[in-house]
Symmetry: C2
Subunit: 359 residues, 2 copies
Amino acid sequence: MKEVSKPDSQQKSLSGVKEIAKRANVSIATVDRVIHNRSGVSEKTKARINKIIEELDYLPNLMASRLALGKVTRLAAIIPQVTEESEFWHAPLNGLKRAEKEIRQFGVRIDPMLFDPSSRSSFSAVAKAAMESDYDGVILAPSFVEESKHVLEKCQQRGIPFVFLDSNIPDQSNLTYIGPPYFQSGYVAANLISRLLRNSRKLLVVNIATESDSFNYLQIENGFRKYFRENSLPSEITRIDIRDTEYESVARYLTYVFMFHAEIEAVFVTNSQVSTVASFLYNSQRRHVSVIGYDYTPENIRYLKNGTIDFLICHQAEDQGYRAAMSLYQHLVLGQQVPKEHFMPIDIITRENHEYYRN
Amino acid sequence: MKEVSKPDSQQKSLSGVKEIAKRANVSIATVDRVIHNRSGVSEKTKARINKIIEELDYLPNLMASRLALGKVTRLAAIIPQVTEESEFWHAPLNGLKRAEKEIRQFGVRIDPMLFDPSSRSSFSAVAKAAMESDYDGVILAPSFVEESKHVLEKCQQRGIPFVFLDSNIPDQSNLTYIGPPYFQSGYVAANLISRLLRNSRKLLVVNIATESDSFNYLQIENGFRKYFRENSLPSEITRIDIRDTEYESVARYLTYVFMFHAEIEAVFVTNSQVSTVASFLYNSQRRHVSVIGYDYTPENIRYLKNGTIDFLICHQAEDQGYRAAMSLYQHLVLGQQVPKEHFMPIDIITRENHEYYRN
DNA sequence: CTGAAAGCGCTTACAG
DNA sequence: CTGAAAGCGCTTACAG
């Protein structure tokens, strides 16, 4: 297998393409063609070159490649804007920015395109704008399912890869899903809440959301119920839906519920709106009621710190944004394989450990 | 402020150094000298160039720079080898490998240099070897304090930056510390265990370790005790030290302890040896005793799954290795500022959420 | 104190 | 189907 090296003026092993070119007795242009599977190379030389690439275990120098290409890869991130009720999205946006900082040296740019999460039409408008601007990759929080499918069809047609962030639409040809394992997350919530039940074993599940379609909370609730079923825990679960995030509305609903179910010991809020519920309980002197909810938002942390909220479950929101961007980078720039789903861990945050949590 | 652009043949804005050179009426070599603060430039032109750099908000192209330099940056990672009793180190090693994969395209290489964590002399030998090989940066798990100080003195003399991994030595001129906030971690452990106490409120703290100096467990215990003090919880804390990690020895000790303290309700093991204790409790049919300990090792997960261990506290061991390497990369290659300490989050792992944990 | 020129490894018109 | 040459932005001897 050892080859006899021709007496060369320079013993120094040439680098990548040059070395390959020399060994194959072709020019580096031809080598380049083979490496990138471009047409215009005879099968014979192609095979020869590929064999040498194998032998040399050649990996192209990414820096040199990007430098020569001088190409800019543009990613659109279609996610909710940060408002009082969507504080959650602060973190993924930061993650996207962190990713951009890291990969902009490779010519990757990320444009956040923010929509109003309580408005279907706003989503459509933003998505349309994104499609018109011809991005190389798309990151999408598919809050509105039908509207999302529209966008994604276009992406598919044009061969633009897209990734789902924080919420999934099954059976789409997305590059990957970056987000929580919602079902199991609800299961964890149930386990935590069951640790807090004492006497009546009555608990309340609250879903607070406006317009979005996102069925995350359904999965959460399924996981939640599964836990109680599996462990055959004698508990009474009341469940309410509130289609309004305003404090006044929520308080009205809850007052009503507690009127009829005064013995409720614990409340599970299926999303980041938990601070509104905590606020109600705090204001109405119901300090004995345990509370579990989602996400590391300033308001939630406030009520975690003052003891109203017992546990927050978090899914590393910042990292979700970061990884969504990095997945596209891996795919588009590095040409690497990306796993079809990347589930975030289910983190349990308490008053004691929240200080060191990196959301 | 607007400058009148001279009528140029090419309107195209030149890139980085060239553009600066043109504006300053010097060659790019001079610009390069200024950028890197190398000597041999008159104060006058230096000032002129610096001003232009400011104006242009110039950031050097890292890819081009590394490509031209062709330099390899070598990092030594002096950490414990992975044995049955130091399974923990599997994860940081993986993190180091992940980091290398990411930054080897910038010419960074990482050599793991593994020592036997139960042997002071092994540590010394490995550290010595590392010093002889003249690395550009050092990652160190300072299991043995005095011996570590030796190494670090040499690093300082030669201006080689070093970072502490998983355990800290205060007052050293380390670039950064990557590891858990041990004190607060003990505090969290106390909170968790207090949730598990029922009647006797007697609990046992066990430290199992062989030769290493690492005083992590002292901090952990301090945090642990602080919690009980602060919350004035009426509890009886027994504490034992076992200087041997073998199952037989541990079992002997524990048998003895439980003889005199049969009412112990919960055990807190201050490190990853918790599976040994869990094994003892499991084997001796003490399934009612709650157990808390550290780290996501296969053995620990086994006992978490079968319900013997109630909580594992983990500090993202894989990420610790990754971040240690990335800190040196940021410092040596990117010339960026690195925070003096990077504390890992205190993660609470249960039977319900362990499956999605990324250690 | 300063500059012209070659080179890092890859890519891309362009010419054949 | 193939190659020579220029260029990406930065660095580095070398010469002055």
